[in-house]
């Protein structure tokens, strides 16, 4: 009876281990982004984008951002 209980426990443990192991190994891992700040800078003059300006042209030299 004790043997049977131990076998059942082992089987149960193995099933749970399989499920958890499978979840870890089969899930695609993606690079995680960290919290932080960045600023769009003009490739031509290096100026940062001031407030109330758009993302099309640099406010300082008129160079196109994209």
């Amino acid at each position: 009876m004790t043997d049977k209980t131990n076998k059942d426990d082992d089987k149960e443990k193995s099933l749970l281990d399989d499920i958890l192991g499978n979840a870890i190994s089969s899930t695609n891992k993606f690079d995680e982004a960290n919290a932080g700040l960045e600023t769009k800078k003009c490739k031509s003059c290096g100026a940062a984008r001031p407030s109330d300006t758009d993302l099309q042209y640099c406010d300082f030299c008129g160079n196109q951002f994209y």
């Binding site: 749970l16 958890l20 499978n22 979840a23 995680e32 960290n34 919290a35 700040l37 600023t39 940062a48």
Partner: protein
């Protein structure tokens, strides 16, 4: 086989299913939170692991009706008992009631275990967002919202540079993962009540509770869910009525 013998076998089967169901859930109680922390709050791994456990528990629940319809029902009918016999209905409902009880239990368990993970994730994200973030140009400290989990522009008060704030993957997952879990937790009692009323209709094979009576707890469920979502992310306030109407149309138009 006599009626008593069939009844006893059916009772034993149901007791075993119940024991096995709780055994599966009890053993995962500690494992899933550990997995979540060990993978550094990876929500997809957590969801995949839960899916495996959910399938195990769900299969057990469905075994009840499958066994009734495949074997037990015919054994009772072979004893010259009709479908409308009170004893036959009592035995059948015994299985359906257990099935419903376990389904409600599984839903409650799922909501609880996801909500616990969500609280850890929110706490981790708030810790990150409460740190100092400085302007990329002049290094002045920038005000960062601790209840908004998407990327946004923030202008430096000193040099007027527009900075783009990226909250990071974990904080973004508050919106993708945690907010739903916390909403479900807040609204769980109403959802269970709605399912319970639906089950009463199913069990008696007629509408004891009208569609309007079913709508009341469902509406409370949706309202509580959406209000909890606003509590975590106030930005959702603006679309409350639209979301309420969309979620209610599921039951009003399609059930």
């Amino acid at each position: 086989m006599s009626f008593i013998a069939t009844q006893q076998r059916w009772d034993t089967f149901l007791a075993k299913i119940r024991d096995r169901f709780y055994e599966v859930l009890n053993k995962t109680e500690a494992a899933l939170p550990l997995l979540f922390e060990a993978t550094d709050f990876e929500t997809i791994t957590f969801q995949n692991a839960w899916q495996g456990i959910y399938s195990q528990a769900s299969d057990l629940i469905h075994k009840i009706e499958n066994t009734w319809f495949d074997k037990v029902e015919q054994t009772f009918l072979d004893l010259d008992i009709d479908y409308d016999n009170a004893q036959f209905i009592k035995e059948r409902n015994k299985g359906f009631k257990l099935q419903h009880e376990l389904q409600q239990e599984l839903k409650s368990y799922e909501v609880r275990i996801f909500a616990d993970a969500a609280k850890k994730l929110v706490s981790n994200a708030k810790d990150t967002l409460s740190k100092d973030f400085c302007c990329t140009q002049c290094q002045a400290k920038l005000p960062i919202k601790d209840n908004f989990f998407r990327s946004y522009y923030t202008t430096c008060d000193y040099c007027q540079t527009v900075n783009t704030f990226e909250p990071g993957t974990k904080a973004r997952n508050v919106e993708h993962f945690a907010i739903n879990a916390l909403g479900e937790e807040a609204a769980l009692e109403h959802y269970l009540k709605y399912e319970h009323l639906k089950f009463q209709n199913y069990l008696s094979d007629r509408d004891i509770f009208s569609k309007d009576e079913l709508i009341t707890p469902y509406r409370k469920y949706v309202e509580t869910y959406l209000k909890k979502r606003i509590e975590v992310i106030p930005d959702y306030q603006g679309r409350y009525e639209k979301d309420l109407s969309a979620k209610m149309s599921f039951i009003i138009d399609y059930s």
